[in-house]
Amino acid sequence: MGQTVAFWIMAVVIVGTALAVVFLRNVFRAALTLILCFIAVAGIYITLSADFLAAVQILVYVGAISVLIILAIMMTRGIQKGDPANKLQIPAAIVAAVLLGILVYAVTSTPWGISSQPPLTPTTEPLAAKLFSENGYILPVLTGATLLLAAILGAIVITRENHK
């Protein structure tokens, strides 16, 4: 019962804020509603009993990515008023609606093999065991670390002023 109520509240907030991100003219307000959308997604993770990922969602998305986006909006001041949608509006709406129809049809008509076991909680310790154990995902973890390092270096190099 509680899960049902929580799911519907979070779902309404997510869809509403996502529509606001897409349709709001003011870029700064769109960024603020995007933060609300990230928080609601963290709530959805909690209803799925993924507690560690909910915490990571708050830390990474609400804490870091939103700050980066707002910083970028403030650095590009002056172009944030009036952002009219371009000429692709009607074809894009058709593409999105068709894709949504296909996805919903595929989701509802597929017989998913739903397990009867209860989900594992708390998830932090088993996740760490999965990520860092010898026959786990240690190679992707290290690759991800390298990717993050490359991304940080790339961002610094791209944004650096060119002093000749």
Binding site: F7, A30, V56, Q57, A96, S115, L127, G144, G154
Partner: protein, 103 residues
């Protein structure tokens, strides 16, 4: 009516399509990055829903979601750096006006 896997997957599909529509129609480069973040979040919701309904004791989907988050963080860092460099060079971040690579 209890909430099942289908509810989460439909929510994820709706969020993904809203993000796709935004990424195709908006002209501000920062908003396009925000819409891509929406789409990545939709994928994460479906991964975690599969993980907790199909293999509840294995957490495989949650591990994948962590890697999606890592790639999303890297993507947004480089993307916003490109937007800033673009703004410095063209004094504009309207995608329709920046078409040097358009044939």
């Amino acid at each position: 009516m209890t909430i099942g896997l289908t509810h989460y997957l439909v929510l994820s599909a709706v969020l993904f399509c809203i993000g796709l529509y935004g990424a195709l129609t908006r002209r501000n480069a920062v908003i396009i990055l925000m819409c891509i973040e929406l789409m990545l979040n939709a994928v994460n919701i479906s991964l975690i829903a599969f993980s907790s309904y199909v293999v509840p004791q294995l957490l495989t989907g949650q591990v994948f979601a962590i890697f999606v988050m890592v790639v999303a963080a890297a993507e947004v860092a480089v993307g916003l750096a490109i937007v800033l460099a673009m703004f410095r060079h063209f004094k504009d971040i309207d995608i329709n006006n920046i078409n040097l690579l358009k044939w």
